[in-house]
Each structure stands twice: as C-alpha cells, then as structure tokens.
Amino acid sequence: WDEPVIFELSQPGERALLTPELEPAIEAAAHDVLFTLPPGMRRKLAPALPELSQNRVLRHYLRLSQETLGADFNVDVGQGTCTMKYNPKVNEHLARDARMSELHPLQDESTVQGILHVMHEMEGVLKEVSGMDAVSLQPRSGSQAIYANLAMIRAWFEARGEAGERDEIITTIFSHPSDAACAKVLGYKVITLYPDAEGYPDLAAMQAAVGPRTAALIITNPEDTGIFNAKIREFVAAAHGVGALACYDQANANGLLGITRAREAGFDLSHFNLHKTFSTPHACGGPAVGACAVTAALAPFLPRPVIVKEPDGRYRIEQGGERSIGKVAAFMGTASIVLRAYAWVMNLGAAGLREVAEIAVLNNNYMMAQLLKIRGLSAPYAPGKRRIEQVRYSWAELCAETGVHSGDIGLRAADYGVHYWTSHHPYVVPEPATIEPTESYSRADLDEFAQIMSRVADEARADPEMLRSAPHNCPTRRIDESCLDDPKRWAITWRGWQRKLAEHGVATPTAMDRAF
C-alpha cells in the first residue's frame, strides 16, 4: 500500500457514522440550550476533521495495520528488554467480553464482584511471585509503577521525618532509564553506577555511593546485559545499612519466575510489567499495567483504593489510610489488562511459570551460542558466563571493519521481516543489539533469526552501502531525519505540516504520483 494521509482522502459531505437522533420532546425542551452557553464558549467552526465513508475509514486503517509488523507476525526476538512473548488470543477475546468492557469503574461493589475477584487473585499471584506482602495494580505501565514505588519511598521517609536528609537515589546505567527519570521527578538527585570490568554492577562503587543522604537503591537484575548480579543481597544490604530502602525493577522477570524473588534478596519494593512477563499485548505501547509489590512495612503507603476480601468471600473497595500516596492513575488502573494476565497465569500454574522461565533462559543461551558464531558480533562482559533472559551484544567489530552501524543492521533486518532495535541510550556497549528470545519461539524460529543476522553481517561486508541505505523492502525508504529536529520544519500534526509546507513551498505529493 501507499496509503495517503487521511486528510488527503477527505470527501466533503461523506459520513462514516450517524449520530443517534434526538426525540422531538428533547428538541422541544432543549432547543435553546446552546444559546445559554457563556459568552465565547460555543464553537464557531466545526473541527476540520476528514470526511469519509465508513468503508474508506476502514480501508485506510486496515491498510495501515498491514504496514505494521506486530509481534504476531514475526520472530520478535530482536526487541530485547521488551519481552515480546506470545499473547494468547483466548485472553484477548475474554477481555473483550461485555462483562469486562462495559463495566464503569464507579459501579457499586456488588455489581463488580467478578473483576474484583480477578484483581484480588492477581495481587495474590504477584505476592507469591515476588514474595512481597502487598500489591497495587493501579499504575498504568512499568514506568508509572517505578514512579509509584519511588513515591512510596518518599512518603516513607516523610512519615519518618527523614525526607529532608534523604535526597539521593542510586541506580545503575543498565537499569531502565525510567528508574533514573522517575527519581528525578520525585525530587531526588540520581547517582548512576557503572559496571565493573566484568560487566557486573560495581559493589565497591555502591558501597562508596551510599550514605546518610541515600533514600533508596533502585536496580534491575539481571540488568539489560542479561547478566545476573550475584551480589544483589550485598547491594541491598549496603542500602539497608545506611537506612535506605531497596527497590527492585523487575519489569522483566521472565527468566526468574519461580527461581528467585525480591523477598529472598531483601528488597522492600519491586514492580512487574504485566505486558512483559505476564503476556499482555504491547498494543503499540499500551494500555498496560505496572504492578507494585511491597513489604508489609510499606503497604500503608500503597496507592488508594485497595481491594479487601471479606470473610464471607465478598470483595470491598477501601479508600486506604492517611499514609497512602493517593492516586497514581485514574480509578483502579487498567483492569482489562489485569484480566488477560490472570487468564495467562491460570493457564500455566506454578509449573508452567517455572517452565516459562527455564525455556526463556534456555532459548537465550541457545541463541547466544548461535549468534556468537557470526563474525563481527560479540557479547561484551562476563566472558564465558551464561546469561539469563537476554544478551546485550555488540557489533563493534563489524562496524570497525565495514562502517555499518547497529542501527543500519536493524533497518536491514526489517527488510527480512523481523524487528530489531538497539535498546536504550546511552550506548555504553558500542554498537549494541539486545536480543531476548523469551519462551515463545521455537528452535526453528531462533535459527531463522540467527540466519538473518548472519546473512546481514555478510551483506555488510559485501555491500556496506546497501545496508547504510536500508530499508529497501519496507513501506517507506529512509526519511530525512533533519526535519525532525528543526523547529522550522518539524510537523507534529497535519495542520502544522500544511502551514510549514506553505511557508517553505515544498509541494505535497499527490496520491496518484505515489501509486506504484
């Protein structure tokens, strides 16, 4: 497809939907209400939205959908740190049931016992998986769960009267950017630790960094390198030793389900992304759920409201006490995502979750064995050691030899119908590639991905320019990125684009020119 922008498709007068009619009695009773609006508050011109028939709206979006490479369509192991796993369709269909989709979040408890049961049970699952004592499902993503955890840490010290002294949060460079960024939002100074020569978080640096100003450590384990930090208890102990809290970013817990938990390592808080470990769909980037799990000591600080199960088995919604950090998201969060995760867990059970972890780790180590056969690719740090659920590789050698960057390889991989990205800045590992196979792909799938990488590496040597101009087989070719950082030319909306085009005199392409 070479589908135009939807505004270009507008045909004045067409309708895709009609509005329910007003009954004559309403018209009669209310015909003058529009004139009672405060001065200036009645819109003068209808919004300049496109006008299309329903058929054409549908065709437009269906074509755009086909120009999107969902995880359902590819061996999606190249999007490391994201835990792209299979999202069972049965869970999706269940979540679209009217008895889920048509629930208003302010309904009386008696009318929502089903969803309250699901949420309460899912809290129980996460308590067991983390070893923690209390869970909130309110945050709408992993980052918001990090935010909520850090807000609880702040409230904890405020409740103890130590807020003023404790203004530092320690994290590591291979922990998620949001760990650092959320700390900043909450008013903390961020101290970032870099790995030691082996790629492990540097315990000595940690011990040097902690002190009376430390509010908390927030850390991922394994980090984005896939290397498990065996000294994690010592990190936690170092924090606790100075009166600070320890917070576990377990957005991706996929390799550790049933193996080890936040509790055993001594953490006070942790969080999970249900759209990673618990298999809810990524949905182009949400809706999602980030679940906070905390110890009993921190439970009073959880966001409100909370679900309480009565002795008779009925569920109630309680607003929570004084020490709650209050709201972090509207209502009780994304309940329909919780339902999908619940169904996933109920299908697998304890043995199944353990199998998820073990196969995710097996797949990752198998993939590493295959990929390291490719000349020009290496797995920095911890030489000869196994990894947990992912590996951060480096194409530094290949780049030195050919001048082709990791980003070019990703765009060429897209030509072969697989996703691949380089993961988060800054690139501490040069020319990085983070591969996370999860448990969802078969050996044949993994072999196919490794073969594509191998072929692309060969192409880099044979024809580096072809790679640098990739993609060649995608809906569009490389864009002029300079536009996107230039205030004179960037255009976040069609109206902005039209205005700037008019100012700069660039002709807008017409639909027929672009038909092939």
């Binding site: 922008v5 895709a16 509005t19 309403i26 209310a30 405060p38 200036g40 508050m41 009645r42 819109r43 209808a46 919004p47 006008e51 979006y61 120009e67 995880a71 999007q79 009217a98 989709s101 629930l103 089903g114 067991e128 980052s143 949001s178 960024a181 909450l186 055993e264 390592a265 769909p281 949905a283 182009c284 949400g286 809706p287 999602a288 009780m332 994304t334 309940a335 339902l339 169904a343 059970g349 043995a351 199944g352 998820v356 780790v361 097996l362 797949n363 897209a414 070719r477 490389r478 864009i479 536009c483 996107l484 950082d485 960037w490 976040i492 909306t493 069609w494 109206r495 684009w497 660039v506």
Partner: protein, 464 residues
C-alpha cells in the same frame, strides 16, 4: 516437574526432545547451569504456591467466563455514571481496528517496519490538533490525570515559576495525583468554586494570582459538568503573566470552543470518550497539546511524532521529533519519564475522529447538551430533588442534590439498582460540602425513554 513432562502450547521448546537438543547445543548439562550466577541462598526452595492451572483453553475459558458472570455491566442496565469515565457508543470499526493483531501486538518497531503504527498515531495527533485548533499534540500518556499532572510540570519548567493554582472543582482524584506527582517542583494552591454555580470563584482566583504563579489548572467542563467562561478566566490569568492550562473533554469540542481559542497555553484531557470501552477503567489515555513553539515543545516528556520526506520523491515517512527531550535518550536529564502508555487508544481515537468527522462531532456535542438540559428539566420536578448548580450550563453531567429528600445517595442508588439502573456517582465523600449529592451523566446512548425511565424510577424510590 511431574513424571510425564507437560508440553505447553505457549512454550514451543517445552518439547522434551527439543529441550535436550538445545541444551546440548549450548554445552550445558541442564537448565540449572544457566542459573549458576544465582546464589543458592536466593533460590526458591519450593514451587510457587499458585492455584492449580486450567491447562486446556476450553476449561480456562469456562473458568474466566464464570467469573465474568459475577459482573453486571452497563449494557444490561441503564447507567448514569460518569465522573471521568463515560459510557458512549463505541463504533464497531474502533474495536475492529484495535483488535487487529498487527496493532495489538506491535511495540517499539522502527518507522519503517512499523510505518503504519507511526502514521496512525501521527494522524491521531493531527485529528486531535483539528479538534483543539492546536499544532502540537502528544502521543497518548496514561490518562487525563497524568496529562494534567504533566501539563502542570511543563508550565512550571517553561515559566520558571513554582506556584500552580488548581481549581477546586476538579476531581479529587485528579488533584491528588497532580500534587503527588508535581510537588517536588511545584507548590500547589487550590482556587475555590462558587457554591451556586459550581464554577470557579473568580474572586478567589484574583486573590491568588501573582507574579509567582506559573499557571492555573482548570477543567472545562469542570467535574460537575459546568461550563465556565474561558475567555474571562484566561484574561485574569494572563494579566498575571501566568499560563492557563485547561483540561477538556474532547467529546465536548463539537459544541464548545477549544480552550486554545480563548487563550489556554496547554490543553489536556482524557480520550476515553473517543471510542474506548470503559473496561472498569481500562480505556483511558491522556493527551497534551499546545501551540507549536519550540520552547514549549521542548518541555514535553512524551514522544512526539513528525512527518518527513524520504529519499523517494513524494513519499512520506514518520519519526520522532526532538527525541533528545526524552528520558529514553537522556535518562534523568530528559523531561520527566516516558514509556509504554496508551498508544492503542490513540490509534482508536483516531479511528473515532475520522469516523465522526466534523458533523458527527457537532451532532454528538449538541445532542448531549440537549439531553442534559432535558434531564435537568425533568429531574428538577421531582419532590425534594434539587439541581446543585442551577446557575451554570452543563455538558454531559451535573450534580443532583438529594439532601432534601430524606434519603442518602447510597439508599437511592440501592433502590435504583433493584430497578436495573445505576444511579449517579455519590459525591458525599469527595465533596462533603455538597451534602447528599450525586453526579449524573448523560450521553448519546441515552434515549428520551431512558431519561424518562430514570425519572420514573427515582420518583418511585424517593416515595418508598
């Protein structure tokens, strides 16, 4: 491990022979070897204690459906609940598009393999831009509450001031989140509302405005559904050199003036009304919008998509505008934080707006205002029932005061539930000053017969 190894449909390599072959390829004797770095003292020494699994899809589906059967949903009753989440008609093509496997399971692909995702989200922003008359719209954040919180932070960063005024006729939940989120950088002060109209108390606003004030945050319509005079308030705010942030129900903008037109500097809100099912709170997404001014744009924390030419003449492509603003790029040096939020609802809202078109949005807005007006007329005739804010014009919802009926809202709502009606949200806890009051919402899903049925049922319940 049971004696007979279980093969899992979602775990292809759970096949024992494959597992063994793959282990061999890695040179490992067992999976345990991969966990060598995990110290024994950290290892779980028992299986997870979870409910027995329902391994077959057939039994799982039956189990979950039996749980869902314990819910009673708004499609099988008449519901008048609102307060930030609304029962609107969700066009079938919205569900069709957001149910497409491609959109549902895509994530962080590049603008090439995921061209369609970028275009759909950019078009969403573009259509929101038309609705708002503004050139910059962010991709969705979590919900309207988050959009409001971020908007306040953006204003503080942009203005360099740390005082933000919050209208007290904003939802209590939203005020809670805004404060928790922003208070490390911002001092918040609430501005009272007029008890007769429920609208902002301009006297109190005047009193609190100063050169220290970064912005006023105001919802139009406010939490009670009342519509304030935007221009007048904007005038007061501007005269203090402060910014105006307006939270708006985008569905109102077919009939109401977009806040940018009366001077709002940042406009934000929730897109749940635009084609999302309520899903017990699962349908929310937030938007933030403004004029296209570089200094303001650089305050956005979320991703902003832009259109750009490609190496093929006449071809469009898309990409990230000013990515270096973000925490993805700069960690704590970026603006706030960014991550997974509510992208699919952005795409869906785009489908909704493209389907409604200009005329649909106008008709929806006008129709809702008229239904509200009709309902207010009818309901105010019931003995003891009072409109809490007779002095204002309302969009979509308004407050009914039951204080003079001798019944609590809880009692009334219990009576209505017996008649298959979900009455308005009880405000007696969040707004005790309003007495026994409830927030009633009306949308295009309600026919005249529905409103009349509510009136009749209330008459019965109040008389009983």
């Amino acid at each position: 491990m049971t004696s007979k190894p279980q093969v899992y449909p979602y775990i292809p390599n759970s096949v024992p022979a494959v597992k063994a072959a793959m282990l061999a390829a890695t040179g490992a004797a067992s999976v345990e070897e991969f966990y060598a770095d995990v110290p024994t003292e950290l290892r779980m020494d028992r299986p997870l204690n979870l409910p027995a699994p329902l391994l077959s899809e057939a039994r799982l589906k039956r189990h979950v459906q039996a749980i869902l059967a314990r819910n009673r949903h708004c499609g099988e009753v008449l519901s008048f609940l609102g307060g930030g989440c609304y029962q609107h008609h969700v066009p079938a093509i919205c569900d069709e598009i957001n149910g497409r496997s491609e959109f549902l399971t895509a994530y962080a692909g590049e603008p090439y393999d995921d061209h369609g995702r970028f275009q759909a989200l950019w078009e969403y922003c573009s259509m929101m831009g038309e609705l708002l008359n503004l050139d910059v719209v962010s991709v969705p954040t979590y919900d309207g509450m988050q959009a409001a919180a971020t908007a306040c932070c953006m204003a503080a960063r942009h203005s360099g001031r740390r005082l933000v005024l919050l209208a007290a006729n904003t939802s209590a939940d939203k005020r809670s989140h805004i404060k928790t989120y922003g208070r490390s950088e911002i001092d918040f002060v609430e501005v009272a509302f007029d008890p007769i109209t429920g609208l902002l108390d301009r006297g109190d606003l005047r009193a609190k405005l100063s050169q220290e004030v970064a912005a006023l945050y105001l919802d139009v319509p406010n939490y009670f559904g009342g519509i304030d005079e935007g221009q007048a308030i904007a005038g007061l705010v501007k005269s203090a050199g402060a910014m105006l942030i307006v939270g708006v129900d985008p569905l109102s903008l077919g009939v109401l003036t977009p806040p940018g037109d009366y001077g709002a500097d940042i406009v934000c809100g929730d897109i749940q009304s635009l084609g999302m099912h309520m899903s017990y709170g699962g349908g929310h997404g937030g938007f933030i919008a403004s004029r296209d001014e570089e200094a303001l744009l650089m305050q956005y924390p979320s991703r902003l998509f832009g259109i750009a030419p490609t190496s093929v003449p006449g071809q469009y492509g898309f990409g990230d505008v000013a990515y270096q603003r973000t925490s993805f790029d700069k960690r704590e040096q970026g603006n706030e934080f960014v991550g997974t939020a509510a992208a699919l609802w952005g795409i869906t809202a785009g489908v909704f707006l493209a389907s409604q078109g200009p005329q649909g949005m106008v008709e929806l807005g006008e129709g809702i205002m008229k239904r509200v007006a009709y309902a207010r007329q009818r309901l105010s005739t019931l003995p003891g029932l009072r409109l809490a804010h007779p002095g204002a014009v309302h969009f979509k919802e308004f407050v009914l005061d039951f204080s003079a009926t001798g019944k609590t809202v809880a009692e009334v709502n219990a009576g209505l539930r017996e008649r298959a009606i979900f009455g308005g949200h009880d405000l007696s806890e969040a707004f005790p000053a309003l007495g026994q009051s409830a927030l009633y919402a009306f949308t295009e899903v309600h026919s005249q017969a529905d409103i009349d049925a509510l009136v009749d049922a209330l008459r019965e319940v109040l008389a009983s």
